[in-house]
């Protein structure tokens, strides 16, 4: 027996034994406690609908997620801020009794436990009336039931009560066993929330002060006990920090905990809420301070009375530290303490402390002046009556009360309801958030889930395996709190996904996509050949182009080192029309790998096509012409092979193209901006007429039944038509800023010069559906200016006069042929152009080579496409 143990007062109290054959009468205290339990359960059940109306908290979603992760075999996933005790408790309960019962009854059980700790043990020696008052304060508060939505705070409060209890027991009889019990409670307490820190600090100071003032045991023993107490009480945080740093989840989960970050606006929020959520706690705190100051310390009760005050001082110190640390957190912007917790702590602990001060003995109360008595009674009445009354009078004020509700869960529920009837089976990929409520409500087996917590998720989300049949996407690109990967790629941009369920609440969106397992075609289509000589010409050009590409790493690299997407677009369109799947996929793979933006945090960039590419440099900007040409190529492939995957890709690219739209604030000006700069994340402010192809947009929009895209096609038609001059040529550019310098001038051509090929290209985009008559005017212009055996002038003044600059390259003829074929089919003039101007012998004449002709690839890929389109048309 040590000297510590010898300090035990330990008088043995002999209790009278009940007479045989008669049941002992329950004590009044026991009856009070029994009634308290019954009331807490009853009110919890009755108030459930009201509490549910206040909405579910993010923490409930968090617990649901933890259970589903465990149930799905992935284990708990926590981070430094989401401390483990409450999740462990929830998961263990769910394992024992099932998740529904755990969600529904565990919080009620904790409420009962909190009430019992306060009434039965913290106020153990008090008269039943005092217990009733303290319990009344506790259970009269709606927050006591709203707190059932925040399990971590409940567990914290329960352990805080136990800590006070254990500390008091230790003070009465300071033994190693009792200090060990306090340490055990403290370690558990520190694993509930970071608000345990103030409680631990307060308790430490309490013990240090006792060590200095204690007379019943040796000071050396106290100091030794403090050496045991202090480091080991804080060991919970230490263990958790080290554990998390080394072995924690790689995905942050703490976004479920409201106000847990060092938000600089917290203090101002707190000040604002002085009249709201914090009003009662502050009132109670004030009452406690007043009580401690007013109630005389020296009474006949002696040590017992001081002990009662110690409880109040402990609570007060704890509250003071908490408020101080929250202030510090606000300044430091780092500490992760929840403001909600201090509110609840004050609210739920202070009644017990108040009762301990005023409850016994009655002498101090009687010794006060009648004014003091009146103030105290009035304060208590205000607290007990007014605060709950507020919620009774105005139930809607529960909305948005502490702890704050999460709108996302409503979105999840809506989406789950729609999903339940459309679940295609297979595995489900969640990105970026784990939508626990959706999973629960839709009755999804958690083993089907692939989540951001899975190993290799980054790879999985880039190329989901075939058995992934559903993609569940939450929120927007800015939702970077949970997942490490943006959801934007998947939201409305997946080439192979169909939206099957959707929920939306506030800014929260939850969407489920069914993944369509499209396959690319594997078979060539029959080769259409109407003129063997043209076929031979076509093959010769193709071989020459491929040969040059082969020596340039498989890309049409021009002399400046860049491979331009427009050249590759021509080749893809050609391969699609020829029906050669191997050729098409060869080009397509390069496009997807090097030009098409499929992974980016920048929503504007997704599914645009970079206008040029160089392996040693980052892609700079999208090209609207290039994006549209590539979309046209995929669309052609989709039509030729009747392949939905290609059609969807084309659709996504066309939507990306349409994101380049601009209109002025009056809705009058409209155009497609020329490019989007990937680095500066800004659009161009002008446009070129070659950037439009309303026919392509219209075809895709009609097939996909996309009215917004169709509207864009209409606007594009009007826009291009507006740019046409009387000569049939089109202006080169459009730039709204010009109008500020030159009134009514927005379309223009640099130096008043128009390139014929650009006008032909603009006309090409209208020729079949949107405005064939305007395209014909351009075509006729070209035909009129053509002279046999003479190179066509490629540049014209705006009135249609040739500048005298001759262009002998095949590109302009190729575009004329393509336009002519679309307007009139095969006619003799076009045949003349095909045989004379697109003659493959010109490629090898030695005058212009790939090295010295910047447009060589453009010219001959255009020629290839023209030859193919010419061949496809039957002779008229």
């Amino acid at each position: 027996m040590t000297s510590l143990e010898r300090t035990s007062p330990g008088p043995t109290v002999l209790r009278p034994q009940p007479a045989m054959g008669r049941l002992p009468m329950p004590s009044p205290s026991f009856l009070v406690e029994l009634a308290l339990v019954a009331v807490v359960i009853a009110v919890s059940v009755l108030a459930r609908s009201v509490v549910e109306r206040a909405g579910e908290t993010p923490y409930q979603e968090f617990l649901r997620m933890q259970w589903l992760l465990v149930d799905g075999g992935k284990g708990l996933h926590l981070d430094s801020l989401s401390l483990p005790l409450a999740p462990l408790l929830h998961v263990a309960t769910a394992m024992a009794v099932g998740p529904d019962l755990a969600e529904r009854w565990l919080p009620v059980a904790l409420s009962v436990a909190i009430a019992l700790v306060f009434a039965r043990w913290l106020l153990r020696d008090y008269p039943p009336a005092v217990k009733l008052v303290a319990a009344g304060l506790l259970i009269a508060s709606p927050l006591f039931y709203l707190l059932q939505r925040q399990l971590d705070v409940q567990v914290y409060l329960l352990l805080l009560g136990l800590q006070l209890l254990a500390l008091r027991a230790f003070r009465v009889q300071p033994t190693v066993t009792r200090i060990t019990a306090v340490i055990g409670v403290n370690i558990l307490l520190s694993l509930t929330t970071y608000m345990a820190l103030p409680a631990l600090i307060a308790a430490t100071i309490y013990l240090v002060v006792l060590a200095e003032r204690q007379r019943e045991v040796q000071p050396a023993a106290w100091r030794a006990l403090l050496w045991l107490y202090i480091p080991f009480s804080f060991a919970g945080y230490l263990l958790w920090a080290v554990f998390w740093v080394v072995a924690g989840s790689r995905v942050e989960t703490s976004f479920f905990i409201p106000a847990s970050s060092g938000d600089p606006s917290q203090l101002s929020q707190m000040l604002r809420s002085l009249g709201g959520d914090l009003a009662l706690p502050l009132l109670l705190l004030f009452g406690l301070v007043a009580g401690l100051l007013l109630v005389p310390r020296a009474t006949t009760a002696g040590a017992t009375h001081r002990r009662d005050h110690a409880l109040a001082w402990a609570v007060l110190t704890c509250a003071g530290f908490a408020l101080g640390l929250i202030g510090l957190q606000t300044v430091a912007r780092r500490l992760p303490m929840q403001i909600d917790v201090i509110t609840f702590t004050m609210l739920l602990l202070i009644p017990a402390a108040l009762a301990s001060v005023f409850g016994r003995p009655a002498a101090p109360f009687r010794s006060m002046s009648w004014v003091t008595r009146a103030v105290l009674v009035a304060s208590a009445a205000v607290v007990v009556v007014l605060f709950p009354l507020r919620y009774v009078v105005d139930p809607d004020s529960l909305e948005g009360r502490l702890p704050a509700a999460d709108a996302r869960q409503r979105a999840e529920r809506d989406a789950a309801a729609a999903f339940a009837g459309a679940d295609p089976g297979g595995r489900i990929l969640l990105d970026p958030r784990f939508t626990a409520t959706f999973v629960r409500e839709a009755g999804i087996d958690p083993r089907r889930l692939i989540t951001p917590f899975d190993d290799g998720f980054e790879q999985i989300v880039k190329a989901p395996p075939d058995d992934v049949r559903v993609l569940l996407v939450t929120d927007s690109l800015s939702d970077d709190v949970a997942g490490n990967y943006t959801a934007g790629r998947l939201t409305e941009l997946m080439p192979d996904a169909t939206l099957i369920a959707h929920g939306e609440a506030g800014s929260a969106k939850v969407r489920a996509f069914r993944r369509e397992l499209y396959k690319e075609p594997a078979q060539d289509l029959p080769f259409v050949e109407r003129d063997p000589a043209v076929s031979q010409q076509e093959n010769t050009v193709l071989m020459a182009v491929l040969s040059e590409m082969q020596s340039r790493n498989g890309l049409p690299v021009r002399p400046d080192g860049w491979a331009y997407a427009i050249d590759l677009g021509n080749l893809m369109s050609y391969a699609a029309r020829r029906g050669n799947i191997e050729l098409f996929r060869m080009f397509s793979d390069r496009v997807v790998n090097d030009y098409l933006v499929t992974q980016s945090d920048d929503a504007n960039a997704l599914y645009t096509v970079a206008w040029r590419h160089r392996p040693d440099k980052q892609n700079e900007a999208s090209g609207t012409t290039e994006t549209l040409r590539m979309a046209e190529a995929y669309w052609t492939a989709g039509e030729r092979w009747d392949n939905e995957y290609y059609r969807r890709l084309a659709y996504l690219m066309t939507r990306a193209y349409a994101r380049h739209q601009w209109s002025d604030e009056y809705g009058e000006g409209w155009f497609i901006r020329n490019y989007y700069n990937y680095e500066t994340k800004s659009y161009a402010t002008n446009t070129f007429l070659v950037d439009y192809a309303p026919d392509v947009m219209r075809r895709i929009a009609q097939y996909m039944e996309d009215p917004s895209l169709l509207a864009a096609a209409d606007k594009a038609t009007v826009f291009v038509a507006a740019a046409q001059l009387d000569s049939g040529l089109f202006h080169e550019m459009y730039q709204p800023e010009i109008a500020t310098l030159y009134a009514n001038i927005t379309f223009f051509s640099p130096n008043g010069i128009i390139q014929l090929i650009d006008s032909i290209e603009a006309a090409l985009g209208l020729a079949e559906i949107s405005a064939p008559e305007r395209a014909r005017r351009t075509f006729e212009f070209a035909r009129e200016h053509y002279r046999p055996f003479t190179a066509l002038s490629n540049q014209y003044h705006m009135d249609g006069r040739a500048t005298g600059e001759r262009e002998n390259a095949p590109a302009v003829y190729a575009y004329i042929i393509r336009l002519g074929v679309r307007l009139d089919g095969r006619d003799p003039w076009l045949t003349e152009l095909v045989t004379q101007k697109l003659n493959a012998d010109r490629m090898f004449g030695g005058e212009r080579t790939v090295q010295d002709d910047f447009n060589w690839f453009f010219a001959w890929t255009s020629a290839l496409l023209a030859l193919r389109e010419y061949q496809e048309v039957p002779p008229s």
């Binding site: 040590t2 066993t177 060990t180 030794a224 480091p231």
Partner: protein
């Protein structure tokens, strides 16, 4: 071959000689006379070969597997240590403290003769002090059978013993027993010799410098009486009379406080076999003779005897009475002593595990597991600690990515829990033990315990080396380094 046969003959001859002269009364199977049995060598080679093959074929998987197994061992040891202490503390108030207030009061005339065995070797200076200490025991001197066991070649101590006896008028209670010259010259060999002529119904071993609490023998008798008949041994607690001498003695005191005040009572509470401490083991003499005494080839013959008691289905109890000893205060001396102890534990484990199934049958599953964790686990942890310290340092200080690879998620989680909580648990238990002993001033020092753990590991590796090279070598500990008691409760 001839040399080997010659060596084998010599050992066998030595063994036979011991048996014939009564120094060895247990069978060869129960003795550490042979370090490894044949199948143990085969098993060690097979496991080694499997590990090497694994390292060649799948190095990382093999290392992870070995690592996981080691971590599991750690976890078992830490959990067991905590559990036993917890159980011991729960039991402490009810069974163990046979304090002065509750011991049976008996007539001196009815007290049985009590044999006290005290092996002495080159300790002439302490003989007088020891005899004086025994005379102060709260036990009729004439009922004591104090047997001073002296080596034949230690004439100086013999002379000192005779002088001490003569000073008290050559009482019958003091017997000077000269142990004939022979090998191995160990404490158990002397004890076996001394036990042959023991007159007492009960017997106890004390070292020369021991200071038992005066009423210890009476408390032991009470304990024997209150425990079941199959309790053949009672171990008193040991602690030090010179804890304040230096940092090493403080750590040593903390370790002993934890071991004897918390852990051994815990082992008693959970029904585990108890490896006896070096002295203050009280026996029913007849039972001890029945067990064949001590194994002279085992360098922790006391621990070995404790296990043999358990294997025979008998029990050892722990009593709340302390014998004060001298804490080793010099690092070199301490390492020598500790290496002998660890080597002894290795010997005990190897001897007991010569027939694992037989051991399992005799102990039962629970006590078998307790034995593994207690006797096997102690050297295991001490040997492995430096490996994990190095790995931790490598992980923290270098970018060598093999370390994280050795700890895939589940292994990492368990190892972190084991490492962090394990270390804290051991520090906590040290403090707990000190608080119980009222060594309040030592408590802050316990946060420096890792320094002491390093010394323990050095001793463990030395022990392993000696086990392989000179298994029966007895590292003699130098005593009387403390000039006077330095602040223990008895001081």
């Amino acid at each position: 071959v001839a040399a080997k046969e010659c060596h084998a003959m010599t050992k066998r001859e030595r063994y036979e000689e011991l048996r014939q002269n009564g120094f060895l009364t247990i069978g060869a199977e129960e003795s550490a006379y042979t370090t490894f049995s044949r199948w143990q060598i085969v098993a060690i080679v097979a496991v080694g070969a499997a590990v090497v093959a694994g390292l060649i074929q799948r190095p990382l998987s093999t290392l992870v597997l070995v690592n996981a197994a080691a971590i599991a061992g750690y976890l078992a040891i830490v959990s067991f240590r905590f559990y036993t202490v917890h159980r011991g503390e729960r039991l402490a108030g009810r069974v163990l403290p046979i304090s002065g207030e509750v011991r049976d009061e008996e007539d001196d005339a009815q007290l049985p003769v009590y044999t006290i065995l005290c092996p002495l070797y080159r300790e002439a200076a302490t003989v007088e002090q020891f005899v004086e200490g025994m005379a102060r025991l709260d036990y009729p001197f004439e009922k004591l059978d104090i047997r001073l066991l002296l080596e034949e070649d230690d004439l100086e101590t013999q002379a000192a013993a005779r002088a001490a006896k003569e000073r008290r008028g050559n009482p019958e209670s003091i017997q000077i027993v000269v142990v004939p010259r022979g090998q191995p010259k160990t404490k158990p060999r002397a004890c076996n010799y001394g036990l042959r002529g023991a007159r007492g119904e009960y017997a106890v071993i004390y070292d020369a410098e021991d200071i038992p609490e005066p009423d210890q023998l009476r408390r032991v008798l009470t304990a024997f009486r209150r425990q079941p008949e199959d309790t053949v041994c009672v171990q008193a607690k040991l602690n030090y009379f010179n804890p304040n001498q230096n940092l090493l003695t403080r750590f040593f005191t903390a370790e002993y406080s934890m071991w004897f005040d918390l852990f051994l009572p815990g082992l008693f509470a959970v029904g585990s076999p108890i490896p006896l401490g070096g002295t203050s083991n009280h026996f029913r003499t007849a039972a001890l003779q029945g067990f064949g005494g001590w194994d002279p080839f085992n360098v922790t013959e006391d621990a070995d005897l404790g296990i043999r008691i358990a294997r025979a289905g008998c029990r050892t109890a722990i009593i709340d009475s302390t014998t004060w000893e001298e804490a080793n205060s010099q690092v070199g001396n301490w390492i020598r002593q500790r290496s002998r102890w660890v080597k002894g534990y290795m010997q005990v484990w190897l001897v007991s595990m010569r027939h694992p199934l037989r051991l399992l049958r005799s102990l039962g599953l629970w006590r078998f597991l307790c034995f593994q964790v207690t006797v096997g686990g102690t050297p295991f942890v001490l040997l492995l600690n430096p490996v994990y310290w190095c790995l931790s340092l490598l992980y923290l200080l270098s970018a060598w990515d093999i370390v994280p690879q050795l700890f895939p998620q589940p292994v990492l989680a368990i190892s972190l829990i084991t490492g962090l909580i394990g270390n804290l648990t051991f520090i906590y238990l040290s403090i707990y033990g000190l608080l119980k002993r009222e060594f309040y001033g030592f408590v802050p020092l316990m946060f420096l315990s890792p320094i002491y753990w390093v010394l323990q590991s050095i001793a463990a590796w030395k022990a392993l080396y000696q086990l392989l090279v000179k298994p029966h070598f007895w590292e003699k500990t130098t005593h009387n380094l403390a000039s006077a008691p330095t602040g223990g409760p008895q001081a």
